[in-house]
C-alpha cells in the first residue's frame, strides 16, 4: 500500500470530518449542480439543440466566449508586461501598483460595472476623448471587452508573478554566457519557463470572463444578437419563466467551464513535473 493509507491513522477525526465535508459539499454544491443537469434531461436532444442553436442563444454564446477569449489574450500580454515590470524593476509607486492589481478581485462587480460605464460613457473621463477619436466603448461589444479585461487581469498577474520571482537567475546568466542576446534569452529561455503559469493564468481569466455578469451588464448595452452576453440571456429567460431555455444555456456554459478546469489541472501537473527533482 502506498503512503500512509494502509497504516492506522494517528490523528483523530478522519471519519467525522470527511463525513461532514462530503455531506456539506453535497448539500451546497453537488446536489444543486446535479439538479441543473437533471433539469436539462427533461428536454430531449432535439429540443436542447433547438434552444442552443437558436440565433439569439448562439449569438450570446459567441459574444461571451469570443470576447472572453480576446480579453484573456489581452490579459496575457498586458499581464506579462505588468508582472515583468513589478518583479524585475524598481521604480517609485511599484508597491502601490502591485497592491492595486487585486482590486478587481475585491471590488464588487456591480460597483466595477457602473464605474467602468461612467468612465467610458460618451461624456466620461475617458469616454469623451475616445469619442473625439470616433471610438465608442460604453454600450458596445468593446465595452464588454473592457469589463472582461478589468476582471481578468489579476488572474494572469497573480499566477505568473510567483513563478517569475522564483525563476533561477542562473538560467538567464547561462543563456547570456552562451552568447544569446537579451531578446533570445527572454524568448527562448524565460518565456518557455513561464509557459505553464501563463497558460494557467490565461485559462483562469477566460473562465472568469465567460461567466462574468455584474461588471459587464452595465457597460454592455445588452442589445440582443449584438451585445447580449450568455449569463444575461439566462437571467432574461428566467424572468420569462422559460426555465428550460435558461437551463440549456447554463449547461453549455458549465460544460465549457469544466473543460477549462480540466485543462488547468493538467497544466498545473505539467508545471509540477517540470519543477520536480530540480
Amino acid at each position: 500500500m502506498k503512503g500512509g493509507s494502509g497504516r492506522r491513522r494517528t490523528l483523530p477525526g478522519f471519519g467525522l470530518t470527511m463525513g461532514l465535508t462530503l455531506t456539506w459539499l453535497s448539500v451546497i454544491v453537488l446536489i444543486p449542480l446535479a439538479g441543473l443537469f437533471l433539469k436539462s434531461f427533461e428536454l430531449n436532444f432535439a429540443q436542447f439543440l433547438d434552444i442552443v442553436i437558436s440565433r439569439r442563444t448562439l449569438n450570446a454564446l459567441k459574444i461571451s466566449f469570443g470576447l472572453a477569449f480576446l480579453a484573456a489574450l489581452a490579459n496575457l500580454v498586458m499581464g506579462s508586461v505588468i508582472v515583468w515590470a513589478l518583479v524585475r524593476y524598481r521604480f517609485p509607486g511599484r508597491r502601490i501598483l502591485d497592491a492595486i492589481v487585486d482590486i478587481p478581485f475585491a471590488l464588487p462587480t456591480a460597483v466595477a460595472g457602473i464605474a467602468l460605464t461612467t468612465l467610458f460613457s460618451q461624456n466620461g473621463w475617458l469616454g469623451a476623448p475616445l469619442a473625439e477619436l470616433g471610438v465608442k466603448v460604453s454600450f458596445t461589444p468593446l465595452g464588454i471587452f473592457v469589463a472582461m479585461v478589468f476582471i481578468g487581469i489579476p488572474f494572469v498577474v497573480r499566477t505568473v508573478q510567483p513563478v517569475l520571482i522564483d525563476l533561477d537567475p542562473e538560467i538567464e546568466e547561462a543563456a547570456a554566457s552562451l552568447g544569446a542576446s537579451r531578446w533570445q534569452t527572454v524568448w527562448r529561455v524565460v518565456l518557455p519557463s513561464l509557459l505553464p503559469a501563463l497558460l494557467t493564468g490565461f485559462a483562469l481569466a477566460f473562465a472568469r470572463a465567460v461567466g462574468e455578469y455584474g461588471s459587464v451588464i452595465f457597460i454592455a448595452g445588452n442589445l440582443p444578437n449584438v451585445s447580449e452576453i450568455a449569463p444575461l440571456l439566462i437571467v432574461i429567460r428566467l424572468s420569462e419563466f422559460r426555465y428550460a431555455d435558461a437551463t440549456a444555456i447554463a449547461v453549455v456554459m458549465l460544460v465549457v467551464s469544466f473543460l477549462v478546469i480540466f485543462v488547468i489541472n493538467r497544466l498545473q501537473r505539467w508545471a509540477r513535473t517540470q519543477e520536480s527533482a530540480y
Binding site: 538560467i171 546568466e173 554566457s177 552562451l178 552568447g179 544569446a180 527562448r188 518557455p192 519557463s193 509557459l195
Partner: protein, 349 residues
C-alpha cells in the same frame, strides 16, 4: 588564453566583496579559487565571465580589454553551481543552445550543429541521454551535460562555480578525476571555484587561497599545504593545532612555560603557533618542553587520535593529535609533546 586581473574592487552595498585583487592566469592552466563562503571567490569568477562588473580595476584576456565585452561576447564557458540547465529543453537542445543562438552570419547549419553536439555528448560519455530532459538525469549527469553545453561554442576559457558542490561524496571523487583528464585532453584555460580544500589540492595545477575579498596565497597545491604564507591559510588548509604563544628574545612561551623550540627569525610578541596534527610528536615527559595528560584515545587504521590536556599553567587547553600506532597511548598517561614541523605567525587580533 591568458587572463590578467588588476586592482579588482567590488562592493555590494557596505559589503566589500573584492579588495584590490591582482591575479594572472597563464594559458592552459587549471586553477582553483579556494576559500570559505564570503571570501569573494565566486564574485571573482563571475567578473571574469562578465556576469558581474567590478567597481574598478581591469580584466584583460591575452592583453585585450575584456570589460568592453558582455558575457555573451567573451567566449567564456561557464558551468553554474546548480547547472542551470534549461528544463524545458532536452539534453541535446541544451547542448545545442549556444550554437543555435549564434549570429546568422557565423551560425552553423543543422547538420554541423548535430555533429558538434554528438561529439560533445561523446566527450562527456552521455550520448545515450540526448533525448532526455534535465529532470530525468542524476546530479552527476547534469553536471557533465552542463559542462558539455559550456564547451559547445569552443570557449577560450572555461569557468566552473563549485562544480562538485551539489554531488554526493562518491560521485564527486569520480568527477574530479574525470575533470582532470578532460582538461588534459582539451587543454583550455580553466578556473574553478571551491570551498573544499581536498578538491582544490587534488584537481588544480595552481591554487589561489582567498579570504575576505583578498588573495592570501597563490601556489602549487604542495606549496600552499606545506608552506602556508599566512595564519589564515594554515588554519584553512589541513587540520591544525593552534596555540597562543608569546615570544621574547627568541624564546617561545605557552602560558609562561618555555617550549624549547626555535623561534623563526624576527618574530616577537604575542603570536600563534601552528602545528599539523600529525606533526606533533610524542616524547617521554620531562624533555623540557610542552607536556600534557592523555584524556581519550581512538585508534583506527595506521594512526591513533588522542585528546591531550596541556599543562600550560592557566586553565586547560585540549588539543587533538594524530600519532603512529608504534606505541599505544593510554588515557591518564603524561606525555611530552614536540612539534616536528611548525609555523609561527604574529597574532594580528
Amino acid at each position: 588564453m591568458s587572463i590578467e586581473l588588476k586592482n579588482i574592487v567590488k562592493r555590494f552595498g557596505a559589503f566589500s566583496a573584492l579588495n584590490n585583487v591582482d591575479l594572472t592566469i597563464a594559458d592552459g592552466e587549471l586553477l582553483a579559487l579556494l576559500g570559505p563562503s564570503g571570501s569573494g571567490k565566486t564574485t571573482l569568477l563571475r567578473i571574469i565571465a562578465g556576469l558581474d562588473w567590478p567597481d574598478s580595476g581591469s580584466v584583460s584576456f591575452d592583453g585585450e580589454n575584456a570589460l568592453a565585452r558582455g558575457a555573451g561576447e567573451r567566449q567564456v564557458g561557464f558551468v553554474f553551481q546548480h547547472y542551470a540547465l534549461f528544463r524545458h529543453m532536452t539534453v541535446f537542445e541544451n547542448v545545442a543552445f549556444g550554437l543555435r543562438v549564434q549570429p546568422r552570419a557565423i551560425r552553423k547549419d543543422e547538420a554541423s550543429i548535430r555533429a558538434r553536439v554528438k561529439e560533445l555528448l561523446d566527450l562527456v560519455q552521455l550520448d545515450w541521454l540526448a533525448d532526455r530532459y534535465p529532470s530525468q538525469l542524476s546530479g552527476g549527469q547534469r553536471q557533465r551535460i552542463a559542462l558539455a553545453r559550456a564547451l559547445a561554442t569552443e570557449p577560450r576559457i572555461l569557468l566552473l562555480d563549485e562544480p562538485f558542490g551539489a554531488l554526493d561524496a562518491k560521485v564527486r571523487k569520480e568527477l574530479r578525476r574525470w575533470l582532470r583528464s578532460l582538461h588534459e585532453e582539451i587543454h583550455v584555460t580553466s578556473v574553478f571555484v571551491t570551498h573544499d580544500q581536498e578538491e582544490a589540492l587534488e584537481v588544480a595545477n595552481r591554487v589561489v587561497v582567498m579570504d575576505k575579498g583578498r588573495i592570501e596565497q597563490i601556489g602549487k597545491p604542495g606549496e600552499v599545504y606545506d608552506s602556508p604564507a599566512t595564519a589564515f591559510v594554515h588554519g584553512f588548509i589541513g587540520e591544525s593545532i593552534v596555540l597562543p604563544v608569546d615570544i621574547q628574545d627568541g624564546v617561545i612561551r605557552l602560558g609562561g612555560t618555555p617550549l624549547n623550540i626555535a623561534a623563526e627569525c624576527g618574530a616577537a610578541g604575542p603570536s600563534k603557533l601552528f602545528v599539523r596534527r600529525h606533526d606533533m610528536q610524542i616524547s617521554p615527559p620531562g624533555w623540557g618542553g610542552l607536556e600534557g595528560t592523555v584524556r581519550r584515545v581512538r585508534s583506527f587504521g595506521p594512526i591513533q587520535r588522542a585528546d591531550i590536556a596541556l599543562s600550560d599553567g592557566q586553565g586547560e587547553t585540549i588539543i587533538e593529535i594524530d600519532a603512529p600506532r608504534d606505541r599505544e597511548l593510554r588515557s591518564g598517561e603524561v606525555v611530552g609533546l614536540q612539534p616536528r614541523r611548525y609555523r609561527i605567525f604574529a597574532d594580528r587580533t
